[in-house]
C-alpha cells in the first residue's frame, strides 16, 4: 500500500471538492463519486483502501452502499459521513461494519485525522490477514519445510563426514579422528531433535484414538525394552520387568504406547548410573493398569519435578550420557492423555526416580465382544 487509495461517495459536490482539496497531494490517491451506483462501480474496479460514504444520498442509500462494499471486499475500511449529526445513524452504520464516522460539517484537520486513522486501520487489517495466512501456511507445511530446509542439508553433511572419515582413515591422527567423531555426534543429536519436532508438528496425537484396539501391556513393555536396549547396553544397564499374569488389555494404539514408554525408559537410562538396574512393573489396580518405571539414578530435584513434562526441559544427565531435547516426556504425556491415562513422577535426589503410568483397563468381557465384532 504505497499510496493509499481513498474513495469519497457523496452527493454534494462541495463536499467532494473540499475532500479532494484537503487530501490532495502525494500522500493519497483520491477518487470521488457523486452517487451510490457510481461509487460501487469504482469499488469493484479499483478496490480502494478506504471509502467515505455519505449516509443521506438520493438513489441507493448510504447503508445499502456500505453493505455492498463489505460484501464485495470485507477488508476495505469504511467511514460514514453523517450530514445530520445524529449519533443514532452513525452507531447503526458502525454496527453494520463501518469503522468510524465523520459528522458534517467538518474542519480540514478533522477530516485529515479521520482519513489517516482509516488508512492506518486498513494497513493493520491487511497485515493481520497476511500474518494469519503465513501462520496457517507454516502450520500446514512445517513438516515439509523443516524436513527439506534443515534435515536434508544436515543429512548430506553427516553423510560426507562418514565418507571423509573412511577416505582419510590412513591419514588422520587420533586427535583429528576424535574431532570428526565429535562432529558426527553433534549432527546426530541435531537430526534427532529435528525428527522429534517433525513428530510433534506433523502428527495430531489426539487422532490416534480413531484406531484404538485392545492392546497387551506385556507386548508394549517388551517392545519398548527392546527398543532401548542399544542405549542400555552402552551403560551396562539391565532392564528388569515383571508383568502381572493375566493382565487385562488396554484400549489403545500400540505404536504410540511403545513410544510413550520408550521415552520414559530412555530418560531412566540417561539418568542412571553405569551398571545399574531399571525396574519395569505392570500391575492391575482397580479398573486401571499401573506401569511403574523405577531407576536408581541421580534423581530429580523437587523444584524441577513439576517441569519434566513441560517440554524443552532437560535435566543434568548422569554419567556418560547425552543431553536430550527435553521433548520426550512432553510427548509421552500427550500420548497418555489421548489414551485417557496419566503419567506422574516421584523422585529423590541421589536415590532415583519412579515414573508411574496409569491407563484404564478394558473391562472383562468387553474385549471379547470387541474382537468378535471386528
Amino acid at each position: 500500500m504505497e499510496q493509499p487509495h481513498i474513495l469519497v461517495i457523496d452527493d454534494e459536490e462541495v463536499v467532494l471538492d473540499s475532500c479532494l482539496q484537503i487530501l490532495g497531494g502525494r500522500d493519497y490517491r483520491v477518487s470521488t463519486a457523486a452517487n451510490g451506483e457510481r461509487g460501487l462501480r469504482l469499488v469493484q474496479e479499483a478496490h480502494p483502501d478506504l471509502v467515505f460514504v455519505d449516509l443521506k444520498m438520493p438513489g441507493i442509500s448510504g447503508m445499502e452502499v456500505l453493505e455492498q462494499i463489505h460484501a464485495a471486499d470485507p477488508t476495505i475500511v469504511t467511514i460514514v459521513i453523517t450530514g445530520y449529526a445524529t449519533v443514532d445513524s452513525a452507531v447503526d452504520a458502525m454496527k453494520r461494519g463501518a469503522y468510524d464516522f465523520l459528522p458534517k460539517p467538518f474542519t480540514p484537520d478533522e477530516f485529515r485525522l479521520i482519513a489517516q486513522r482509516g488508512v492506518e486501520r486498513r494497513r493493520l487489517v491487511l497485515e493481520t490477514i497476511a500474518l494469519r495466512r503465513e501462520r496457517e501456511m507454516l502450520k500446514e507445511h512445517f513438516g515439509a519445510i523443516v524436513s527439506h530446509e534443515l534435515k536434508s542439508p544436515l543429512g548430506a553433511v553427516q553423510q560426507n563426514l562418514y565418507a571423509l572419515t573412511q577416505e582419510l582413515s590412513g591419514v588422520l591422527n587420533p586427535h583429528q579422528r576424535e574431532r570428526l567423531s565429535r562432529m558426527e555426534t553433534s549432527i546426530d543429536s541435531l537430526l534427532k531433535l529435528i525428527r522429534t519436532w517433525l513428530r510433534i508438528y506433523t502428527t495430531d496425537i489426539d487422532r490416534i484414538a480413531e484406531a484404538f484396539q485392545p492392546t497387551s501391556i506385556a507386548e508394549v513393555v517388551s517392545a519398548a525394552s527392546e527398543a532401548i536396549q542399544p542405549q542400555a547396553i552402552r551403560k551396562d544397564i539391565e532392564i528388569v520387568s515383571s508383568i502381572e499374569d493375566d493382565l487385562p488389555k488396554v484400549n489403545g494404539d500400540q505404536g504410540t504406547l511403545v513410544e510413550a514408554l520408550v521415552n520414559i525408559l530412555g530418560n531412566a537410562v540417561k539418568f542412571s548410573r553405569m551398571s545399574s538396574q531399571i525396574h519395569v512393573a505392570a500391575n492391575r489396580e482397580g479398573g486401571s493398569i499401573l506401569i511403574r518405571v523405577a531407576d536408581s539414578g541421580v534423581g530429580i530435584a523437587d523444584e524441577d519435578l513439576s517441569l519434566v513434562f513441560e517440554g524443552f526441559h532437560s535435566g543434568q544427565p548422569g554419567e556418560g550420557a547425552e543431553r536430550g531435547s527435553g521433548l520426550g516426556l512432553a510427548i509421552t504425556r500427550r500420548i497418555l492423555q489421548a489414551h485417557h491415562g496419566a503419567v506422574s513422577v516421584e523422585s529423590k535426589l541421589g536415590t532415583g526416580t519412579t515414573f508411574s503410568i496409569r491407563l484404564p483397563a478394558v473391562p472383562p468381557g468387553a474385549e471379547t465382544i470387541d474382537e468378535g465384532g471386528s
Partner: protein
C-alpha cells in the same frame, strides 16, 4: 579390490550422493549417478546394473515412488534389487496409509534412513545383492 558389481544411484542432492558414492567406491563397487528420475530410468534401461539406490523425495514430490512403479512394470528391471535411501521415514507411513513403515515397492528392496552409516550401507547393499542372486537361482 573390485566387487565387479555395478550400482546405479538416483538422488537429486549431489552433496549427499558424493557421501554415499565415496563409501561404495571405497568398498569396490562401481557407481553411476543420475540426479533426476528421468535420466536415472533411461540409464537403467540402457545399462546393466546389479542394484539401484533410490531416493524418494525428488523434484516436486515423491518422484522416487514413480520410479519404483515404473521399474515394477518393466520386464527387464522388475527383479532389480533396490535400496531406498530416504529422509522421510515418518512421512512414508502417510503416503501409504495402513501400510507398514517399510512400503516394499519392489520384490527385493530395503529401506534405510538418511544419513546412513557406512557399515549399515555396505551391509544392506551386499545382503540385497545376495538375495537377488539367490532369487535368480
Amino acid at each position: 579390490m573390485s566387487t565387479g558389481k555395478k550400482l546405479m544411484m538416483i538422488d537429486d542432492d549431489p552433496d549427499f550422493v558424493e557421501g554415499i558414492r565415496s563409501i561404495l567406491v571405497g568398498a569396490g563397487y562401481e557407481v553411476d549417478v543420475a540426479h533426476n528420475p528421468k535420466d536415472g530410468f533411461k540409464a537403467l534401461q540402457a545399462g546393466e546394473y546389479d542394484l539401484l539406490l533410490l531416493d524418494i523425495m525428488m523434484g516436486r514430490g515423491a518422484e522416487g515412488v514413480m520410479v519404483a512403479r515404473k521399474l515394477r512394470k518393466d520386464p527387464k528391471l522388475r527383479d532389480m534389487p533396490v535400496l531406498i535411501i530416504t529422509g522421510i521415514r515418518e512421512q512414508i507411513a502417510f503416503l501409504f496409509p495402513g501400510g507398514a513403515m517399510h512400503p516394499h515397492f519392489m520384490p527385493v528392496d530395503e529401506l534405510v534412513e538418511k544419513p546412513v552409516a557406512p557399515q549399515l550401507l555396505l551391509e544392506r547393499v551386499s545382503s540385497l545383492l545376495e538375495m537377488a542372486a539367490k532369487r535368480k537361482g
